[in-house]
């Protein structure tokens, strides 16, 4: 996966490059806005991490110019500015996501993957622990064994997997189902839990909020 890292702080850029490398990204580093803009326009990257406070040309301008040049790659803005107006300005200029420094690398990695997934909607098979979800074929399997899922169960699992480690509210589920069938939700969750046994994944109930898909300690 080709990634452009535009960050002027050498210490951070150095560490990030290494961490991204460890996460199997191929990293190109731009230490100022002008270089970042040039590289983004001339080369094909799968994704870019852009600092807003870049020397020569600031990140927001780079972002606008790159979008004007018709580049549609996902760009994650990484910045020290966290006020709401900066966030809004970044997203309006064409950023796909926004992360404030300092950050936890796993979160950055997760967001990068989420952005890359969004770029290839529903075509990719998704795998987590023992579970594989082939969205194109609408087939699920656990440890290679196919699992039968009803349409509602499929939608539910798809949603939980996309939002894994994050809370999926009952309202989100109802929206995904296209109906407000709150009463039977627990039945579906119960069935899904049974089917996920042995996958290394579990559906956790979050009191008063909803559900969350998490990896259990024993895969």
């Amino acid at each position: 996966m080709n990634l452009l890292l535009a960050e002027d702080d050498a210490l951070l850029a150095d560490a990030l490059q290494q961490q991204l490398l460890n996460a199997s990204f191929k990293v190109e580093w731009a230490e100022n806005g002008a270089v970042a803009e040039y590289l983004l326009k001339k080369q094909d990257f799968d994704i870019a991490i852009l600092d807003l406070g870049l020397p020569m040309v600031d990140g927001l301008t780079v972002l606008k110019r790159v979008r004007e040049a018709g580049r549609t790659l996902p760009i994650l803005v990484l910045t020290a500015l966290d006020a709401l107006e900066h966030r809004v300005a970044g997203l309006q200029a064409g950023a796909d996501d926004y992360l404030t420094k300092p950050f936890d690398f796993p979160e950055l990695e997760a967001r990068l993957h989420a952005l890359l997934r969004r770029g290839r909607p529903a075509s990719q098979a998704q795998q987590l622990r023992g579970l594989t979800l082939d969205r194109a074929a609408r087939r699920a399997s656990i440890a290679g064994e196919p699992v039968e899922l009803s349409p509602r169960e499929w939608t539910l699992l798809d949603l939980l997997l996309t939002e894994r480690d994050r809370v999926v509210t009952k309202a989100q589920i109802a929206e995904a189902w296209g109906s407000d069938d709150g009463g039977s939700l627990e039945v579906y969750i119960h069935r899904l839990r049974k089917k996920l046994e042995g996958s290394g994944l579990a559906v956790r109930t979050v009191r008063g909020l909803g559900y969350l898909l998490e990896a259990t300690s024993s895969p």
Binding site: L16, R166, G208
Partner: protein, 463 residues
Amino acid sequence: MSKPAGRSLHRQLLLWLLLPQIVLWGVAAFGAYRVASRHADELVDASLLQAARALARQIRPTASGLFVDLPRSAQDILSVNPADPDERVIYMVSSPPGQLLLGDARMPAPPGAPRLNEPVFFDATVPEPMRVVSLDLQLAAAGAPDSALRVQIARSSAPRELLARRMLLDTALPLSLLIALMSMGVWAGIRKGLKPLAELQQQMEGRRADALDPVQLQAAPPEVRALAGAVNELLGQVQHSLATQRRFISDAAHQLRTPLAGLKSQAELALEATSDPALRQRLERVRESAVRSARLVSQLLTLARAEPEAVAAQGWAAVDCGRLVREVAADGVPRALAAGCDLGVEVVHEGLSVQGVEVLLREALINLIDNAVRYAGTGATITVKLRRAGDDVWIDVEDNGPGLALDLRERAFERFVRGSAHGEGCGLGLAIVREIAERHGGSAELLPAAPKGCIARLTLPAA
């Protein structure tokens, strides 16, 4: 001004405008009385002299002595004034002077040595106060020896005083009325004149220490406008320097974030690269310290955003509490799970909302949840409860952890006081929560939970 706390301007103006008037009034009244009584004296004296001369003309010297012819007309002069029955007149003719010839023997002698033909006027008590004229004459006639003669007429002085008093009253009464009217005018004028000052005072008194908006004075006179202008200029300078300082803090905090992120990332990389437990422990400390510093920076920025002007700039709106609680708690669940805590939500009353800045309220709740996760410990159950309590909304973050000692409960809201020596907290969390709660007209407190644990309560006025 010699007195440390000056007298009210209102009272001073009143005093200095009215006191000279009253003194002048007194002087004028006294002067008028003097003039009036002098005129009265002159009038009385003239009539007395006229009477004395008339009486003297009736005395003719003869060879055998003095002959007094006191006809009816002359007696009339000496008789009681019909207009004033109280007026008493007595007379005495003496020759040689001092030796009674005719009239009342009680008549006192004139003071000093009177000269011929020069009338002497004096006051005497005979036995009542009287005005006396004494006229010494030398009568000469053919065939008779020259004889010295003294004619004295006294008239009770009561009418004279009455006259003077009446004249005084006639002048003083309108003058007093004038003074009273003028005092009222002055009083009203001072009130009206000082009104802009009173307005200025009101505006300054009702002000919070952090309210730096300019003073508003419409149609104020130039003097007060100058004062208000000076105050406004000062307020503007204070505001400007405060803003500069805040911008500096904000910029510095932002600038600190990038190197801290680098430090943290480098430490994490180094952690991955080594398996030496001693080294790993040290690196873990470096990482922790970077995280704590970064957190402190974030909290400082939040605190800056909770400052009044910043709050005013961020836009006040109705905030749906149910949505806020659910969203913030949902975001907190992964962090709680990582710390081994069971975080849940209990919305007791639906449809609650408050007026405020959502970003700040969100920040306050995040701080409360993070606090609970940090201090309740592994295996704790944390519940965010939303409910209505009278006119207030309560957002409680309740845990069943070890709880907090009573003396720490209040201290926990002070800046840089931490509940425990370890962890990534910087001791600003609860201070921020309280600051934000108070900006919204609410409060924040820590209460003990039953049977154990702690309730962090955010009380906000319901919209």
